[in-house]
């Protein structure tokens, strides 16, 4: 595919891998966090880990929007769909399998709740228009990447006066969880692969505080394998020179100031929540969005009574420490016993690409590989 394959050239990949080797100090261990779930996916899909030196470790960050959704919010969504027969609950496909406290959306659907997968919030609005006797609730999730499309859909619903369209807003913002991670005294990260998709909306500027206040490099990165490798080389080069700067590897897509039109529509439709719970990370203040006063009529949380119960992550769950790179998945107290891919407790086990799920499934192989290499 033109304009894609160019960024997947294995020859250039080997050149970059060689350059990365030149940047590292063999006596030092490097932990770099890729913030965004999209990067985790690229790293996994292309096997980028294999091209890195042994002492450069990638830590999967909090940027997978479905994995950070707390059980209580999923229970709320299920309650709306199950207790109100007029409701059609709509959501993105990767939300369907995320476990709530007793059920996932997929299981609630099997029990009779009308839950449908859509590919865009506009599809949900279309379902509302063609089913005027039903109420269509869109279970909105995602970082600033997907929030503008929810905002635009709500604007359209308002302009057209669609009376049977509502939204459960679970949109989250990227900076507060990063700051929360950075504020932990036991953080063991050396640098950040910055979230490319989110940055197309918010720009690079909001991440200035990471090098400025915490002295860690952040390089905003694209999603093709060469993008990721080049970004890693840029971070390691900064570390070698003892620098901590904000750089943008993904200039072909991400402007420094982001997308002003998208930010404007978000400002119009959303406002900050005082706090929001993150699976594995707990409550983080001002880390999520809700519908603004002007859009209160579309707010499903105001229309329906939901349990709104905080389902605590089990005390033993140590996703926070895994995310911070403090412990390895297998060091968590519940790993492999109470917490497995079939019955996931924490965010790191929920997604197949999460650090714990990957280790659960492939840890033995990874260990054998290490033994062969060393």
């Amino acid at each position: 595919m033109k304009f894609v394959d160019e960024f997947r050239d294995p020859e250039l990949g080997r050149v970059l891998a060689g350059e990365i080797l030149g940047e590292v100090d063999p006596s030092r261990h490097y932990k770099l966090m890729e913030v965004c779930g999209g990067h985790t996916h690229s790293i996994y899909k292309y096997g980028i880990d294999d091209l890195l030196p042994e002492n450069v470790e990638l830590v999967h960050g909090p940027g997978c929007p479905v994995c950070v959704m707390p059980m209580g919010r999923i229970d709320d969504g299920i309650a709306i769909a199950a207790e109100n027969p007029e409701v059609i609950l709509t959501c993105f496909g990767d939300m369907m399998r995320i476990p709530g406290s007793t059920q996932s959306f997929l299981e609630a659907k099997a029990d009779g709740a009308d839950i449908r997968m859509v590919y865009s919030p506009l599809d949900a609005l279309r379902i509302a228009r063609s089913n005027p006797e039903r109420t269509v609730v869109f279970f909105a999730i995602g970082f600033e990447t997907t929030a503008p499309s929810t905002a635009l859909t709500l604007k359209r619903a308002k302009a057209e006066g669609v009376p049977n369209f509502l939204c459960v807003c679970n949109h989250v913002t990227i900076v507060p969880p990063l700051r929360a991670l950075l504020d932990s005294p036991d953080l063991r990260l050396d640098g950040f692969i910055g979230p490319g998709h989110v940055s197309t909306v918010v720009g690079v500027r909001p991440f200035e505080f990471i090098p400025a206040e915490y002295g860690k490099p952040l390089v905003t990165a694209g999603f093709e394998p060469l993008d990721v490798l080049q970004t890693i080389r840029m971070i390691l080069a900064q570390l070698r020179k003892g620098e901590a700067k904000l750089e943008n590897q993904y200039k072909r897509v991400v402007p420094y100031e982001g997308n002003p039109a998208a930010l404007k529509v978000m400002q119009e439709v959303f406002e900050l929540r005082p706090h929001f719970e993150w699976r594995g990370l707990g409550f983080i203040s001002q880390s999520a969005l809700k519908l603004s006063e002007a859009y209160a009529d579309f707010d499903a949380e105001l229309k329906y009574t939901v349990p709104g119960v905080r389902v605590a992550d089990p005390k033993a769950c140590q996703c926070g420490e895994v995310l911070k790179g403090v412990i390895k998945p297998w060091e968590c107290k519940v790993f492999g016993t109470a917490c497995t891919p079939e019955h996931a407790i924490g965010t790191c086990m929920v997604s197949p690409e999460g650090a714990c799920a990957a280790y659960y499934n492939f840890g033995r192989y990874a260990r054998e590989k290490e033994a062969v290499v060393s």
């Binding site: 595919m1 965004c36 899909k45 507060p176 005294p185 707990g282 983080i284 420490e321 412990i327 192989y365």
Partner: protein, 382 residues
């Protein structure tokens, strides 16, 4: 931008963590890995409280239902082989028998329809067992109100496809259910065929060094169906590859004979699931060379947009063949001589380690594990 503050309990203090780092605790890590190993080696148990859509997707949930509920309940030697067909002995002759139910939506799609699918699916499961289909049964579940012309067209499609595949429909059944209960029509076919004398196939006979071939480009059927549902707003010229695979099995049996270890009709769950099932059954590893996988630009483009790997997408005309290395080249040449199979390719090699696992050497030069999916391949949002 707002300031984020975590207000949960503090993390474990660094002092407590001393000595728990990677290099100093290999024993504990090994213990955890052993626990996982023991848990995974146990026969899967079907514990779900209700059936959901992932039980029908051909991934882990399907496997758990089959191995945890069906196989133990029926205690049948032929069933526990988990082949595409069961092999039974009838009056001293080895006969392959298989059954399949078709619930595809929409009933017609570019490149095929439910009728063609119902014949080819069963013919192909027999072909994978090394048997040419000889007789088919045909059962319809029809929905009240179904346009009779739709039924006529599908009956014609079944007759035409069966005649092309050289198989007769010898018995049947019809049920009608109330409006709203059957999406127009469901079709079930069962087929039998005598095992070809050239065949010595099994699911547990793979050994290190064996080569894995696919008979053509992959992912077309599933992509065509997804696009035909019209929910994605993507337009592309992708047609289902629905076709009889007996000609493919026939040339493979000729070219490789006893060196043909196993065949798999890579339908639901795609080629990736077929590889995983065989790796498990034979306790071997399989290493896939991603660059060698034949995929059309259209399927590649649609998969890229949806974030789906074509290796997990359903096919209705792709045979996966496992061949001893001595006969791999001859088998590949034979495959490519079959019309429509010019793109046949060797995509993987059987290795001793790690047993039960499929690894991919990515086109970019890295490695990853290609596991069974938990359920349907779903588009990603992030």
């Amino acid at each position: 931008m707002p300031v984020g503050v975590i207000v949960t309990e503090p993390a474990v203090t660094p002092e407590k963590r001393i000595g728990a780092g990677r290099p100093s605790a290999p024993d504990r890590e090994q213990r955890v890995l052993d626990i996982i190993e023991t848990a995974r080696a146990k026969r899967p148990r079907f514990k779900d409280s209700a059936v959901n859509m992932s039980h029908g997707a051909g991934g882990k949930a399907t496997q758990t239902m089959i191995e945890g509920l069906f196989v133990p309940a029926f205690a049948s030697e032929a069933l526990s082989q988990l082949g595409d067909s069961g092999i039974v002995s009838v009056a001293g002759t080895s006969v392959a028998m298989t059954t399949d139910t078709f619930v595809v939506k929409p009933l017609k799609f570019p490149g095929g329809s439910i009728g063609e699918l119902a014949v080819c699916g069963t013919v192909n499961d027999l072909a994978a067992a090394g048997a040419k289909a000889q007789a088919l049964s045909l059962a319809f579940v029809l929905e009240e109100g179904l346009d009779a012309n739709v039924l006529r067209e599908e009956v014609e499609a079944i007759a035409r496809t069966a005649s092309e595949a050289g198989v007769s429909v010898v018995t049947g059944d019809t049920k009608v259910v109330e409006r709203g209960l059957a999406d127009g029509m469901y079709v079930c076919t069962t087929g039998i065929g005598e095992i070809d004398p050239r065949a010595s196939l099994g699911t547990d006979g793979l050994v290190a060094g064996d080569r894995v071939l696919v008979s053509k480009t992959i992912g077309e059927h599933g992509t065509a169906i997804m696009l035909a549902r019209g929910e994605l707003g993507i337009e592309a010229d992708v047609e289902s590859d629905t076709r009889s695979l007996w000609p493919v099995a026939d040339v493979l049996l000729d070219a490789a004979g006893p060196d043909l270890r196993s065949m798999r009709d890579a339908t639901r769950g795609g080629v990736a699931s077929a590889l995983n099932e065989l790796a498990r059954a034979s306790s071997v590893g399989i290493t896939v060379s991603e660059a060698a996988i034949p995929v059309t630009p259209e399927v590649n483009g649609a998969s890229e947009l949806l974030g789906i790997d074509p290796m997990y997408v359903a096919n209705e005309g792709v045979m996966v063949a496992f061949v001893a290395p001595e006969s791999a080249d001859a088998a590949l040449a034979a495959l490519r001589s079959v019309p429509g199979c010019e793109a046949a390719a060797e995509i993987a090699e059987v290795v001793a380690e790690p047993p039960g696992m499929v690894l991919v050497e990515t086109a970019f030069g890295g490695r990853r594990v290609m596991d069974l999916l938990a359920g349907d391949p779903l588009p990603r949002i992030c």
